[in-house]
Symmetry: C2
């Protein structure tokens, strides 16, 4: 039995796999960006430890569980949203592999230990904190989208401390923040290695950036093929359909 | 009359415009990258001052003269190649607008003055200095391709000092050096603003990076549409033909 609260609903996450996810338009609903990150990132396949910061309703751990036998933990600072993530693990019967943690990512090195993870993923808040009146009305969504509880530097610093030397850090963000991301990655010893731009369609500027770095890695950045979301007719491109429904890489 | 030395030859630079260029396979011949940079970069249209560092046989100043009435200077450290650039200005009857300078880019701030240019372009050596035996055999080409006479930091530093506040710096390089370029741009107060990746064809990694920054600009990086050189049949794409032969932007 699924326990749904308020305006929560139960959606299918991946149609052909019968994976389900609880979400709520007013509190937490995953975005395409999380799905893109889960598809883009390297994962250790057979063993290891993965951590997802700013996990929201846990969509990235759920998606990564299809690609990896590693243990996967998710961290969410908002208790109401953490509770959705926890129930999402239960309804998908993944309690053996997935653990959700209610807490602040800045406290995780102390709580989980330094260099314990082979991979740390994060879909962090994208926007710098604005004047209160410009912010989104819902506290839940405001905190998920704006750098209120953590700055980009807090996120990168936590990723760096939690990842083992040679381990990977994967992040999704806005292209306009790339300069900051690269500067912070370098500051915290994460060498950028793979970068992919996502374009809404041909002729538009990129609106999403996927980046993966290696803790203490050597310099050598590769740009993957750009990814287009929609074709000229307004349908998803084949590449995007592969991300959404397709083969796990 | 054109004065050609050794294995120099006179090529048409832009077929429909009757622009000619002296080049030599053993000493200096322009690459697609220079043409891409000349097409990518912002230019002041009606007035102003443009400087091209590492100008080689002067291809970038020649191409920019089609798009701008600004005065354009080129700097080349190798005298033999500088002499080709100088003759290229003459045979195209552009001595009123274009000036070639024989010298070291590191000396240019002293020689030309700080902050005197609205735009500085550069197609610098791409490769870190290798063991002598691994280097290219020709001294001319070795110096053009390897960081022997100048490092990437020398180039960015010179660009920064020579550009006026609010002026632009445009560069072409390998994607693998992006992290360094961004780090150096930030160090020398050039804010990265526009970035374009060039892919040899679909399915391949990007092999060329075009980047433009603004001296003392505010942070906000935009990714332009990716550019493909060849289509699936091995022909130039329409986008590349526009760069090579097409409308000036």
């Amino acid at each position: 039995m699924v326990d749904l609260h308020d305006d929560e609903r139960l959606d299918y996450l991946m149609s052909e796999e019968q994976m389900k996810i609880i979400q709520s338009p007013s509190i937490s609903a995953f975005s395409l960006d999380a799905v893109l990150l889960a598809s883009f990132t390297y994962v250790p396949i057979k063993r290891g430890n993965i951590l997802d910061l700013c996990t929201g309703n846990g969509v990235i751990p759920l998606l990564l569980s299809r690609r990896s036998k590693a243990t996967i933990s998710g961290v969410e600072i908002q208790e109401r949203i953490y509770d959705m993530a926890r129930r999402n693990v239960e309804i998908n019967e993944l309690t053996e592999q997935l653990t959700m943690i209610h807490g602040d990512l800045k406290e995780m090195p102390k709580q989980l230990g330094n260099g314990k993870f082979d991979l740390v993923t994060c879909n962090p808040p994208y926007f710098k904190t604005l004047e209160p009146r410009q912010q989104n009305n819902s506290d839940y969504l405001t905190i998920a989208r704006h750098e209120i509880k953590c700055t980009l530097e807090d996120v990168v610093k936590a990723c760096s401390i939690l990842t083992r030397p040679g381990g990977k850090v994967s992040m999704v963000h806005r292209p306009g923040r790339l300069v900051e991301i690269i500067t912070l990655f370098k500051k915290y010893k994460i060498e950028p290695k793979r970068l992919q731009l996502v374009y809404p369609k041909k002729g538009k500027e990129a609106n999403t950036l996927l980046i993966e770095g290696i803790r203490d890695g050597s310099p050598d950045l590769k740009f993957l093929q750009p990814l287009y979301v929609y074709d000229d007719d307004g349908n998803y491109t084949e590449d995007l359909e592969e991300v959404l429904y397709g083969k796990t890489k």
